[in-house]
């Protein structure tokens, strides 16, 4: 079912060895940067406060993009499935002693996938924006569940869970570099999985459903099954993303860490990065992570007397953030990934001449 198929884009098959080599070179260069250059040159501050959250949010964007960009299904509750992931992971570590971290991540993803299937069930009958109701229901339901039943946070008074000691087979991953390597490794594996999925028969059937559901079902695509698989796979990704966000970035988590704002942020990443792309999500994520930091510096640098009040600064940032979002939505309909595509095309032209 999920056999790896050739790229169906005619442009890619028409240009032979040059672009294939370029692609392999790009992947190798990517590996070298991710596992060699970045850990070597990045400071702890950059790793902990900028690079790790950008990668994790980019992964969240990929998760939602699988559902929304490829399968055309709406979700306004991405953060809910992230919270299912982190609370599952916490309880697995707490209640199943000796379970290694990779198994914890995998199981947490699977539990989130189950939640995704459940809240995706209405998609079998409901279409379009109305699906927002179901996913928003998930958003508010899990937030309520994790705050009303202290069992999930092991009876903690503040309903907060704290990250366990992160280690894989005896290797300590507590340092910023260790957490970075964990996040980067998981992300690379999941990107690989995402590529396999979208290039497979499953991915192409998703796109057929997205583009015209009625036609897809006439062609014999099992629409219901494919939709549930989209919710399952997207939520699997989101669950693991949630664990990384809580354990590898924040070091702690509660139900409000994964609130509606976080869900909307993931949605922004998809739209700003570009729908139906994988790498565009990291541009979107960088935008979401960096914009508030930049605005902070900008407001401080402007040093307006009126802005001594922190509340006013926060509100000014809200306004600027809103303006930037509207601006990008208007100016770059295909998202920031259109930049990458143009860049790659320019490179291809240069190298295949």
């Amino acid at each position: 079912m999920t056999t790896l198929q050739d790229d169906i884009l005619p442009a890619a098959t028409a240009v032979p060895s040059g672009s294939a080599l370029l692609r392999i070179a790009a992947v190798l260069a990517g590996f070298a940067i991710v596992f060699g250059v970045v850990p070597a040159i990045a400071t702890d501050y950059w790793l902990s406060s900028i690079i790790i959250p950008t990668i994790v949010m980019g992964l969240a964007g990929i998760s939602l993009n699988l559902l929304q960009g490829y399968a055309g299904l709406v979700s306004l509750g991405s953060a809910a499935f992230m919270s299912v992931g982190v609370f599952s992971a916490y309880n697995l570590i707490l209640r199943v002693p000796g379970l290694p971290l990779p198994a914890v991540l995998l199981l947490a993803g699977l539990i989130a996938a189950a939640a995704g299937i459940f809240f995706g069930l209405p998609a079998l009958r409901i279409k379009g924006f109305y699906l927002g109701a179901s996913t928003l229901g998930a958003q508010f339901f899990f937030q309520w569940l994790f705050t009303n039943y202290p069992w999930f946070s092991n009876g903690s008074q503040s309903l907060t869970i704290s990250a366990p000691r992160l280690e894989i087979f005896g290797y300590d991953l507590q340092s910023p570099a260790g957490r970075y390597l964990l996040v980067a490794t998981v992300t690379v594996l999941l990107i690989g999985l995402a590529f396999l999925v979208v290039k497979s028969r499953l991915g192409r059937e998703w796109m057929a459903i997205r583009d015209m559901e009625t036609a897809a079902s006439v062609l014999g695509i099992r629409v219901a099954r494919r939709k549930l698989q989209a919710y399952a796979i997207s939520s699997f990704f989101l669950g693991i993303t949630g664990v990384l966000w809580g354990f590898a970035y924040l070091g702690t988590a509660d139900a409000y860490t994964y609130n509606l704002d976080k869900s909307f942020q993931v949605l922004f990443i998809v739209l700003i990065g570009g729908t139906a792309t994988i790498f565009g999500n990291f541009l979107g994520a960088a935008f979401i992570v960096l914009t508030p930091i930049l605005l902070d510096h900008l407001v401080l640098a402007a040093n307006v007397a009126y802005l001594s009040d922190q509340g006013a600064i926060t509100n000014l940032q809200r306004v600027l953030f809103g303006v930037i979002i509207i601006f990008i939505l208007i100016k770059e309909p295909d998202g920031l990934s259109a930049w990458i595509r143009r860049g790659v095309e320019a490179l291809q032209v240069r190298f295949t001449r």
Binding site: G137, F141, W144, G311, N315, R318, I330
Partner: protein
């Protein structure tokens, strides 16, 4: 039994006020196909401007007129800067744009007018009085009369006036409406203005109830299940949906809440909305799309 009835009635009244917020959404959805997440922010903006003017000693009706004018100005600016450049884009992009708009509106309102909580007194008592054994607040009665009046006025405007007919033409088939000379930007400006004034009235009623503060803009999240149940494009649907959500949410909180150790009002309406959709996928009064291949 009296307790059940009182809960039910209080829920129905709250539902009418949800319905009022939902009407603002319906107007905009009908005319521009935009699911306007910023409607809650507009409610908050209108209430905050109004209460600030009244606190400066400005007469109620002058403040009302000034705030209405501001809402109309806001509508014109939104049409020019956001809607026109984004026309013909997909609904999710438009939704995200209105989400960005909500940041701009409620951030801007609080940046200029401050983050304090304001009390708003409309001069209507909010004390429960005995009506044949049932205690009902006269505020609720006045509020529901206002809601009924607005719905009646809107219904007459949309069915009898030229503007209303143009609006329905746009809602029915945007391209056809444009080709017979209906000017879309004008319709958008009018509809967003009307939605802004409905937001002002909703803001006054909600603000009088719970104070004028940021949480007013979160009313959006209450209006969403109302719309889903009623159908995105129907004003009677918004009211019916509001009544259903208000009543069932109030009852669920009282009777279901204790069983699951906590208030269920944050998510109950959504689960209810999904249950409704499973039976009627386009909502109670929504338009059913016909699909062609």
């Amino acid at each position: 039994m009296a307790y059940f009835l009182e809960t039910l009635i209080a829920g129905l009244f709250a539902g009418l006020m949800y319905g009022l917020v939902a009407i603002g959404f319906v107007l905009i959805y009908k005319a521009s196909g935009v699911f306007n997440f910023a409607q809650g922010a507009m409610v908050f903006l209108a209430a905050l401007v109004f209460v600030t003017l009244v606190e400066r000693g400005i007469n109620f009706w002058v403040a009302f007129a000034a705030t209405s004018a501001l809402m109309i100005l806001t509508a014109i600016v939104i049409e020019a800067l956001v809607l026109r450049p984004l026309r013909n884009r997909d609904p999710l992009t438009l939704f995200m744009a209105t989400l960005g708009l909500s940041f701009v509106i409620d951030g801007g309102a609080q940046f200029f007018l401050g983050t304090d909580v304001h009390m708003l007194d409309l001069g209507i008592d909010d004390i429960a009085q005995d009506y044949g054994g049932l205690f009902i607040s006269s505020f609720d009665i006045v509020a529901s009369l206002i809601v009924i009046a607005i719905v009646t006025v809107l219904a007459i405007v949309f069915s009898k006036t030229r503007m209303g007919v143009s609006l329905r033409a746009v809602a029915d088939d945007t391209l056809a409406a444009q080709s017979i000379g209906i000017r879309l930007p004008v319709i958008w400006r009018i509809v967003w203005s009307v939605a802004g004034i409905v937001a002002l009235i909703a803001g006054l009623l909600w603000g009088a109830r719970q104070g004028v503060q940021y949480s007013l803009s979160l009313i959006t999240l209450k209006a969403l299940p109302v719309l889903i149940i009623g159908g995105f494009s129907s004003i009677p649907g918004a009211i019916a949906g509001g009544l259903i959500v208000g009543a069932s949410e109030a009852l669920a909180d009282i009777y279901l809440g204790p069983l699951v150790n906590g208030s269920v009002s944050t998510w109950f309406a959504y689960i209810l909305a999904v249950a409704f959709l499973l039976v009627r996928p386009a909502g109670l009064f929504g338009d059913r799309d016909i699909e062609r291949v």
